[in-house]
Symmetry: C2
């Protein structure tokens, strides 16, 4: 018996929200962080290791998966979960962002997006309808509408035109998405850094009515302050009984500040990608494990985190692995960084429950940013 | 209370031997296969994942570890076990082979070997005595004497001169090695493909008296037939109450045939190195998972092996990971290949116990080599 798709707001502490999102593949405690599993793999780590980081949902990329392995292969397996042997929820992005940033000769019209595969140069056309077909075949728990991603900075007219196109695509996405028990479809608020455009966008999406609302077009270079300004006026307009997802964000301090503005869901490549290059997140800020000061450091990255990547291996050993270009270094820092992010999310959920989010966030941010210049 | 270093021969089936090797860090059931953990890591996988492959001992490389992280760092941790958080036995090779194959300008004399680090060009001199110092500081369960590795083919005179030098180094190694409870030192039989040299070498090593005897200078290009000939006359001369280790071997069929000749211990980079390039070992011979025929293959590599890398993920998924250059592909094939090797060792131990080694080996080899051209 599958769960219905459902969001329960359990409590709040000022703007910060504690909730439970129910999907066909399980429950997600919010605020939540979704590790990025672009090509049906969180790079370097096994599903059981993802679970050991306390992650409850991962994100996959429609653009990457449509190109490789391709929809025919995913169809044979009945979806991404069975293909990659991940039993918990999956959210797939729509691919709009990747098409604009990775594909060559991407050209957007009211109909959709024409582009060439960055792998083999094959010409592809993606419409809101074909994008929904893909995500329905992926059988993901949460699908995202196709939206147009605008480079930053964009002037008002470009931002307006693009937002309106995205809203029309959102409507077409909703119409062509195939509703199934336990599965949800999210709309994406656009409008750049222009308040009235964001307000219009929220309005239009609410009229279409989605299972959740994402805020897109941020974390593209506008900076934290500008991003928080947009959240300030946008989250207030969003329905309180639906989950709110801030796409592609971010650094630990971005996430804490966005939870303070009422965001429930996050994804970001940072803990995984920077883990592969030697950056480890800690309560005292990020460190680069390749730094010579760690060569003889027998202490672990974080003795209080509940996994061996964080509490068992020494910084000296991790330093050695990175200096020796050993794959295990990337694997261990990936596990540690995701664990650190999930510890942060759990800490915020606890703080919200106990109405201590202001205290927690202020303590965390002071400690975390003290060493960041 | 630590174990003594001790080898018990439990039973034999013709020349094949079933035994238990006891060391300070635990027991090893023989015949055994030692995965290679060159730089204090079996590439890509965590200690708990190595244990899940049923490996009971791993091999580390003295040459690599003396260069990076360096002996000072290992000393801080009291040995390699604690540095890499591996609690089971470790054997370290002496570095002779790596010096000759990796270092530049390696020059061997009766005193030892002069060479330049392949990492930073630093000039280093390794003597039998300094080699023992390193391995004692590593605190490994099994240390190997320094030996000279000759390129193949070598004429009789070169092979003789080199063997005699290695025997003199073996004697100096034994003298300078620091005996501790549960730790053993192995001598290495040399002599190329010349029977009288091998016989002399075994004699000289037995006079020195070691805790185990390795057969070196094979798997260097002489071919399986020539290697088995050397084993034929060499293993017969070795004491029955000491473990016998065939260095750097090999392919699954090499290992089965060497167990038939009375070998107890093996190491080889093959399951790990070839796993990283997409080769998977199976009961029906090796396959290349990148081959297009696996793109839609929903079956696992081996449903009967007791780990998810082998029995859970589909060949299609592994194919996808390799085509997408995803690290997880290398990780999963490494785990699978070691598991396959350990299944093979366990199967041979069972067969020897039940006096069915002839039957098992013939069935295995027929199936395994049926698809190899």
């Amino acid at each position: 018996m599958k769960n219905n798709f459902d969001f329960k707001l359990l409590t709040n502490d000022n703007e910060s929200r504690l909730g439970i999102l129910s999907t066909s593949n399980g429950l997600i405690n919010t605020p939540t962080f979704m590790p990025v599993g672009t090509s049906a793999t969180v790079k370097g780590i096994m599903p059981e290791q993802i679970i050991a980081t306390n992650s409850e949902i991962i994100l996959c990329n429609t653009y990457h998966l449509m190109l490789r392995p391709g929809i025919d292969i995913i169809k044979i397996f009945g979806g991404i979960n069975n293909f990659m042997k991940w039993k918990k929820p999956i959210l797939s992005d729509s691919g709009g962002f990747q098409v604009m940033s990775l594909a060559s000769l991407a050209k957007s019209s009211d109909e959709g997006i024409k582009f060439k595969s960055h792998i083999d140069g094959k010409k592809i056309f993606m419409s809101p309808e074909s994008c929904m077909d893909l995500q329905v075949t992926f059988d993901v728990d949460i699908a995202m509408v196709l939206d147009e991603c605008l480079p930053f900075p964009a002037d008002y007219k470009s931002a307006q035109k693009s937002m309106l196109r995205s809203m029309s695509w959102a409507e077409r996405s909703k119409k062509s998405w195939f509703k199934r028990q336990g599965k949800g479809l999210f709309g994406i608020v656009q409008g750049g850094i222009y308040e009235d455009l964001r307000i219009n966008s929220v309005d239009m999406l609410q009229n279409i009515n989605f299972d959740g609302y994402a805020i897109g077009g941020l974390a593209v270079g506008e900076g934290q302050e500008e991003m928080l300004k947009v959240l300030d006026y946008t989250t207030k307009l969003l329905p309180i009984d639906k989950p709110r997802y801030l796409m592609g964000v971010g650094k630990p301090d971005d996430i804490v500040k966005a939870v303070l503005k009422g965001i429930d869901m996050f994804d970001c490549v940072l803990p995984t990608r920077s883990g592969r290059t030697g950056q480890a997140f800690t309560r005292n800020g990020p460190i680069n494990i390749r730094n010579a000061c760690f060569a003889r450091d027998t202490s672990p990255l974080d003795e209080y985190l509940p996994n061996s990547a964080s509490n068992n291996f020494s910084k000296a050993y991790l330093h050695h692995l990175f200096k020796s270009k050993e794959i295990l270094g990337a694997v261990l820092l990936t596990i540690h960084n995701i664990s650190f992010y999930q510890w942060l999310m759990q800490s915020m959920r606890d703080a919200i429950k106990n109405k201590k989010m202001a205290e927690f966030s202020s303590n965390f941010l002071e400690m975390y940013t003290s060493t960041i210049k």
